[in-house]
Symmetry: C3
Subunit: 369 residues, 3 copies
């Protein structure tokens, strides 16, 4: 056991390209590429530094791996600046090397090919629902009354699309996803397996010691180009909408409270939780296991370090860390100071002794007067 | 894209009520209502302060939104005390305004109407299982041998009810829920999509470096009126039962360890985790991402702030915060003191200098003697 | 309501054993057992100290429950050392009493019996897929093209096994699990309900303010004897493999990032999250809600306390706690010191006063000179 994915001749992509073709492709996409080495080298796979073999192109994802370049068996590498390496290794220096690698991956490998097409006879599509052209609706999918789904939808087995949902074109939903009623989904949205969109918000009015359920009559809106990871849960609003903005991407196991508005182009890493009625601006990044309180406003371009807890409004452009979260430098300083507390305690004890000696001396000399 | 839910004439509820009727309804429910304005105003929708339009009733959920009352287009508002506002806005002052809003929401909008009825031919109900009257069992549901389910059950597509499970009346299970064998469910229980009830507890005996699985022969008990959010996971007990007490409500992505007993009327917010064999009293609230250690006892009416970690027994009535959790005032004081550590360090340095000067002086004057 | 699982004569196992037989069984398994009491006592159930009745064997799981031994109604108990107890209670003293209890549980109760067998006609098994002998494939399971599954597989309803997946023998998959394409699974692997294996890693290249999806062409490898809890999410690697090593066990709601390698024989408790490209050695234990940063290396036999955050490499054998995590003694000392900060502040203030008095005195005496 333990067959990890390794280069294999039989798995080589049929879409082999010369380095010259790759350079042209990247240049056409607006990148400035500086290639050194044999441009006729044929590339048929993208791989990691560690696992690459002949015919593979690799890339430098993190500077701590520079030492591995000498040993890689890859034929080409994409990196942000030239390094010393074996002569046979063609180097493609690109400023935005991460984006270049993405484009090459797409060109050579493409995205997932889905294993079904057409509408499976076991799919339950309500007669009042509308599904656009070229749809692939797999076995045991349920699409309820009045749902409207655009063209090119791919819906894997076991998914549930509730009543009155709407979705744009190019919807991609992996297995066992549940979309509650009235959810509004834009174009090019992807939902990974097991995620739940639009469950009731956590709203109860406690009266006489009993928690009375508050009807959650709002919905969830996922704007264009949103991607939601696996096993997330996005509450519908009590009234109005919970919103995930255009181009925002969620990793896995993320919880969003009712009525919260996540701005466009945000990145939420795994296990982030945001309570209800909070607003997040655009281009924010919340690292793993971050928690955000309800009813607060977070600005644009805010970055929050892993495991932080945000309890107050945050201005644009801040980088925060800690629980409670503060500007990252403050938190780092605090962590250092706390680590030095035993030292400070010893200092204080020493000062105390020196003061005692001074007092003894002074009182001695005083009484000597 | 980004069609958020907004007031729309065509979506108006057919169950419009005059403010006078609403006041009567609330009064009949035992609330004291003080209404100021035109009691003949007809209300056909409940909405947020921000999104409300004519014909809508809204409410003040949080005092920080008072300033929005002047601008709201709503026709009526429920609030805990009268405020200054436009004349056309009917004000319903109710002490427990949150509960009043809940009752009005229920009256005007009601709870979700489910999109299916009867028993779908694709549902797999074992001949030995019993399902009560008036059940709605959707497509691709599995109900295993000897399961017994009460009247009025609504089970959405893709759910699995394991062998020997029992459930009371009014069971409501959203799509793709898994209930393992022998789970005991009370009346009026709701399980949201993707949740898993009764998976094996995390029990292994490590012997010779190998983790040997301990059979988990216990079960899970969900008492009456429990509601479980989306994508939760409640471990069955190794022996005996994991219990969620009557009236307790879980938000999403909550993990409960084997043999833990959560008391009645608790509220657990998203991403809370409780390890095994712990006891929680009644009317406890655990905010988001709280963690609780195993084998401890937490009293009644305990409140725990977000992201806290509870590692020891907790007495009744405590309000805790922090990791490790302490009484909230202590933790808040500690946070402040940690923030002031750089200041304290500077003070200590200054004292050190002053002591040095004193020593110099005193030793100088001493030697001068 | 609230029927917890209690001893019941009718539920007694048909496989009753005398204590003498149990002692022989444990001895044959290599354990040293010292039994005191009536060895002819018949045992037909394993139960907790609290809930045990006559005919039950129980065990001491935690020394804090010793006081309950006097009151237990059990007929026998497994414990690590003899204690005083009622004469009728047969005591089996075993060094590794937890493992002994596991063996007795297996002997008397066994593991779960699955409620179906054979291949359900509604299961969708692609003609190109291969399923071994003695398989139980339940309703509404999808097994895609080229998947290869070994003998004795048990796959519960609603599961999805993607294209090109392979699995060894004795695969056990509970309901509504999703396994994405190309996942490689060893022998004796168990996946609990709702888990997702191999969803796309969280990889985007941000270019011009837009997050461009990076094709995730790697896969996930779950080695032999792995057990994954409910509602977990294990990302596929961007390239190469995300790996969970032989014999490693996950609890629920765990998130593993792309390309991470979790070593063999680890225990990950509920809600742990590990970011991408990290390596974890063998026999590590991460307690609940621990977070681990990406691109770091954690050694072997590392133990991490609940809610800790690991941000740097960790050497073999460390026991860590805290956020950021440090050696447990350091963190415990820090917590104590932070709790004593108000005291330290008061000390510093007092020293300040004493210095002022000294200065006054000394300056007074100076000026008096």
């Amino acid at each position: 056991m333990g067959k990890e994915k390794k280069p294999a001749v039989e798995a080589q992509s049929p879409t082999g390209k010369t380095v010259e073709e790759l350079v042209k492709y990247l240049t056409d996409k607006g990148l400035r590429v500086n290639a050194v080495g044999n441009l006729a080298t044929v590339i048929s796979r993208v791989s990691t530094l560690e696992e690459a073999g002949p015919g593979d192109i690799t890339f430098l994802s993190n500077r701590k791996y520079v030492r591995m370049i000498e040993e890689t068996r890859a034929s080409a590498i994409i990196l942000p600046e030239p390094v010393s390496g074996p002569d046979r290794l063609v180097q493609l220096k690109v400023d935005d090397s991460y984006f270049a690698m993405t484009l090459v991956l797409e060109l050579i490998h493409g995205h997932r090919k889905h294993p079904f097409s057409g509408i499976d006879p076991s799919a339950r599509i309500d007669p009042s629902a509308k599904v656009g052209q070229n749809a692939a609706i797999a076995a045991n999918v349920t699409i309820c009354r009045n749902a409207v789904i655009g063209d090119n939808a791919v819906i894997y087995p076991g998914c549930f699309i509730g009543p009155d949902c709407t979705a744009g074109n190019n919807l991609l939903v992996y297995p066992n996803v549940t979309v509650y009623d009235q959810t509004v989904i834009g174009n090019n949205v992807t939902l990974h397996a097991g995620s739940v969109i639009g469950e009731d918000g956590f709203g109860y009015a406690t009266h006489g010691g009993i928690h009375h359920k508050i009807p959650q009559i709002g919905n969830v809106v996922l704007e264009d180009d949103v991607e939601i990871g696996a096993n997330c849960a996005i509450d519908r609003a009590t009234m109005g909408s919970t919103v995930v903005g255009k181009g925002t991407k969620f990793s896995n196991l993320i919880a969003i409270g009712h009525g919260t508005k996540v701005g466009p182009h945000c990145l939420l890493v795994a296990q982030v939780g945001i309570a209800g009625s909070t607003r997040l601006g655009h281009h924010c990044t919340l690292a793993g296991q971050v928690g955000v309180a309800g009813h607060i406003a977070i600005g644009n371009n805010v970055n929050v370090g892993a495991k932080s807890g945000i309890t107050n409004d945050v201005e644009d452009g801040q980088t925060l860390l800690g629980q409670p979260a503060r500007p990252i430098q403050d938190t780092k300083r605090q962590v250092l100071m706390v680590a030095k507390l035993p030292e400070m305690r010893d200092q204080v004890k020493l000062l105390q002794k020196r003061i005692e000696q001074l007092e003894k001396k002074l009182n001695g000399s005083s009484t000597a007067e």
